[in-house]
Every structure is written in C-alpha cells, then in structure tokens.
C-alpha cells in the first residue's frame, strides 16, 4: 500500500519534472521564434538528435556463455536531443548554452544543463570562459561531445565516455577556461588552460558483505561547489602546421586534481579515499585529404593521499582511422585501458575496469545534415580484484541529424 502510494507520488513528481523540462524547451523555442518574427538574427539555435537500434550478445565469462545481458537493453532507442545557443552580445562578449534531453535505460528522461559558459574575447589569442564547459583535454571531448551527427562513430571511446556512461575522466567542469590561437608563418599554436571544481566519486549503496571492495562509484562533477576545496586544473597545448600539413594537429595535455569518494565510513573501514589525479598525455589528429585519423593517449600517475600507499600508473588510449569516400566513411578503432585496481580512483568507479575494445563501422551521409551509421564492437574486460572477466559483442545502428 505504502509502495503504491510512493509509486503514485514518484509518478506525479516525474510528470511535474517532465512538464518543467518541456516548458523550458518551449520557452527556448518561443524565444527563438520571437527573434525570427522580429526580423532580428537573435541567438542562433542549433542542435543534434539521434535514434538507433542496438543488439548485444550475452556475456562470455571465462569462455562460457553466462546468460546475462550487457549494457543497454536490446532494441530501438531514442538517443539524445541536444540544443545549443551561441549568442554574441557585442564585439567581445558571447555565451554558449547547451541543454540535453536523454532517455535513460529505465525509460526515464534525463535533462542536463550541459554547458553554460560566458565568454569574453580579448583578442584572437585570448578568450576567457567562465561557467560549466566540456573539459578541454585531448580532441574528442570538446570536438564532438554530444554532437552525434558530426562524429563518425556512434560511440565515443569508452574511457572517454560521459561520467555516467562508462567514462573514467571528468568530461565536464565548472570553473574558468582560457583559450586562444597564435598564428605563426609555418602554423598555429593553440592553447587551453583551465581550472575548476575537482570532481567527487559518488558511491552507490555499500555492500556490507565486502566492505573493502566497493566498485559502484561514478564521477560527480560538483556543479554547485567543490566538496574538498581542491581545484582541478589542466592545460592542452596544440600545434597545427599549415601548407602541405594542413589538417594535422599535435597536442599535449595534462590534468591534475585531488579527488575523494563519499563512501560510508560506518561500513567501509578504508573510507574516505582521497586520490591525487595526475594525467599527462597527447593527441594527434589528421582531418584532410579524405582521411580521418584520431588518436589520444592518457597516462595516469595517481597518488594515494589518504592511504599513503604510493603512486599507481595506468594508461588509456585509442586509435581510429577512417577514409572518406564522398558520402561514405568506413572506420576502424582500437581502444585499450589498463587501469590499476590498487588505485582507488579506478577501483572505486563502476567503469574503472581494464578493457580492450575493437570497433568497426561506417557513417553514410544522406545529406549535409543527416547520417546513417552502423557499428560492430567486440569488448573484453579483464579479471581484476573485485571484477569479473567477461567479453561481449554488440551491433549498433544510428540515424543522426543536426540542425
């Protein structure tokens, strides 16, 4: 009876929440329409949307089919609906506001104020942003993010995925970000320097049966303030040669911060875990002459602050190669993540298991704004403390548009 009542209340709350989201969306669209009717350019509204179909094999654990399913449910799915505005208020002041609606695996609607960043342009070589932004490491995170139609594959490399979808890096940050380009005779130097709230690892309910092995945490980016008052900071410095090497970009990136989890100290003797995250890596991209070559490397040297047990090395990387034949872009990708489970930063995260994934697929552009994609995965996860080794295959299709 109480459950029924709770369920009714929850349903009501969900309905109110959905109404609020729809009202927000209508408000944004109405504003856009009003600008259009007034004959002014207003703030251009852009966006992405996608829908797809997925088919997963069941898990193979220790070479045996164990019968349990993996990942998202099999069948058709609505991916995400992403809208963003890029208002330019005057010569130097601008903003970028992005809102995303996603359908969760349990059928609910998740809304996220994806980006709210206010910028001031001092010159071509200097722009300052403040707010919530995509953390500017590597290439993929800022280059594609929720822009399904502009990325060749359906999925991001798993370790670079969003915090709640398999990623082990803070894909979003709240803070300040300085960016710019400096043009030389032979090419262009680009830079991103940023600092903001360090994330927290939000743990799920602890398992009293195994108090020292908790692997159900996800990164929480601390939108409303930093839980441990330790800022996360980083930089990304790139060089884009011109002339014969047009389309090429070399970059190095670094990210540093102190991250704690919020595990329940009454259940877990080793709580509270505090880790100094140290990442150094690089990226290389070549996007010219009908080639699409992307690779990124992340080396971790994380120090256990709370347990003083030492420094743990881990690494994650991917290489994706695609060839563009007018409308068709076939691609192949390999991802490898070797994540040390003695490092609490990984062992506390649900997605912190070492893995290798092979992806093969294609993108077919129906026109400039609509694409069909097909992708096959083979994913293999390692046997590690608190984790079970398993593998699975999956097939995914997607119809993605931009506007």
């Amino acid at each position: 009876m109480v459950d029924t009542e709770n369920s009714r209340v929850n349903h009501h709350v969900r309905q109110k929440s959905a109404c609020l989201r729809i009202a927000t969306l209508c408000g944004m669209l109405f504003t856009q329409l009003t600008f259009a009717q007034a004959g002014t350019e207003g703030a251009p509204l852009h966006g992405f949307a996608d829908a797809g179909f997925s088919l997963h094999s069941t898990k193979f654990a220790a070479g045996v089919l164990d019968g349990t399913s993996v990942g998202a449910p099999t069948g058709f799915n609505v991916g995400s609906f992403d809208i963003y505005l890029t208002p330019q208020f005057d010569s130097n002041t601008k903003a970028l506001v992005e809102l995303i609606f996603e359908v969760t695996p349990d059928g609910g609607i998740a809304t996220d104020l994806e980006r709210v960043q206010m910028g001031y342009i001092f010159s071509d070589s200097s722009t300052i942003w403040a707010g919530r932004f995509h953390t500017p490491y590597g290439f993929w995170n800022t280059g594609f993010h929720h822009g399904a139609q502009i990325q060749t594959s359906i999925f991001r490399p798993r370790f670079l995925d969003f915090e709640d979808k398999g990623g082990v890096l803070p894909a979003h940050m709240v803070g300040v970000w300085g960016a710019g380009r400096i043009r030389g005779d032979a090419g262009k130097l680009t830079y991103d320097i940023f600092a903001g709230n360090g994330p927290q690892i939000a743990m799920g309910p602890a398992d009293p049966a195994a108090p020292n092995i908790q692997t159900n945490g996800t990164l929480n980016i601390n939108v409303s303030g930093d839980d441990n008052h330790r800022a996360m900071s980083g930089l990304n410095i790139g060089y884009e040669p011109s002339g014969d090497f047009d389309g090429m970009r070399f970059a190095i990136h670094a990210l540093r911060g102190e991250i704690a989890d919020n595990s329940d100290s009454s259940l877990i003797p080793t709580a509270l875990n505090n880790t100094e995250l140290n990442i150094v890596g690089g990226a290389f991209t070549y996007l010219e002459n009908n080639w699409e070559l992307l690779t990124e490397l992340y080396n971790f040297n994380n120090r256990d602050v709370s347990g003083s047990s030492g420094v743990y090395k881990s690494s994650a990387s991917y290489l994706q190669i695609g060839a563009i034949f007018t409308q068709l872009t076939p691609f192949i990708r390999k991802e490898v993540a070797v994540l040390n489970q003695l490092d609490k930063y990984f062992s506390a995260q649900e997605n912190g298991q070492s893995y290798t994934r092979y992806a093969l697929g294609f993108k077919y552009d129906l026109d400039q704004k609509a694409s069909l994609k097909l992708e096959l995965h083979y994913s293999e996860f390692g046997a590690e403390t608190g984790r079970t080794a398993y593998s699975y295959r999956s097939l995914h299709t997607q119809y993605a548009i931009r506007f």
């Binding site: 852009h46 890029t86 010159s123 822009g147 960016a179």
Partner: protein, 131 residues
C-alpha cells in the same frame, strides 16, 4: 566592307567578353577602416581571425558567388565549409558568417559596417580591395 564590319564586331565582342571575365573574378573587399592581408583571408572566413587590430571583423558570405569564392580562396566546397562551421560553432561558440544574396547587398553592407569583410564579383569603389 562587310568583312571589316564583321572583324570590328568580333573585336568588340571579344573585348566585351574579356571585360566580362574580369568582372567574373572574385574580389575580397573590406570596410575602408579595415586592413587584412591575402594570406589572412582563409583564417578570417573560418573564424580563426576575428580581429584586425582592435576592430572586430564582421564577415559576410555572398550567396551568388559563394561556391567560386570557397573554391578559389579556401580550397573546398560549400558542404565542407558548412561542416567546418558546425564543428567550430559547437566547440568554440562562434557563429558562421551571415549571408547576403548578391554583390550589391554585400557592397552596401561592407561600406556601411565598421569591420565588415565580404567578397563580390566586381571591383567596387568606396571599399578596400584585398585581392
């Protein structure tokens, strides 16, 4: 006599057609208060260069000759241009150039707008000619 008239007529036609070819070339123009160099044209139209000194550039596309301009100065077609701008807009929050329909609209806009940069198929007066 008839052949002389024919030759004269042919020469006139040739002269007119030559003049037409020159007129068909693409010329990049800027507001009289703005100076940019030829090598900066690509950066300006891809949003990489937004300022000339302290002046914010206001870049304008010309629908009637856009394909010719992109091919000549940027080395690619409209589809790739749009694709680059979509990615740039999404990452950097920049807006692509707005579009005017023809030469006269572009010339009028560039003359009247501080920082304006555009391109046309003639060499107008009252603006800076970049190339």
């Amino acid at each position: 006599m008839k052949s002389k008239i024919l030759i004269l007529f042919s020469i006139t036609l040739l002269a007119l057609s030559t003049q037409g070819a020159f007129a068909g070339d693409i010329v990049v123009i800027t507001n009289s208060g703005v100076t940019i160099s030829t090598v900066e044209i690509k950066d300006v139209f891809l949003g990489e260069k937004q300022f000339a000194g302290s002046t914010k550039l206001v870049v304008i596309d010309n629908k009637s000759v856009q394909e010719k301009f992109l091919s000549k100065f940027l080395g690619f077609d409209i589809a790739k241009y749009n694709s680059i701008w979509t990615k740039k807009s999404f990452r950097d929050g920049l807006n692509p150039p707005s579009t005017k329909q023809n030469d006269s609209e572009v010339i009028e806009f560039v003359k009247q707008t501080p920082g304006a940069v555009g391109y046309v198929s003639t060499s107008p007066e009252g603006v800076n000619i970049v190339r």
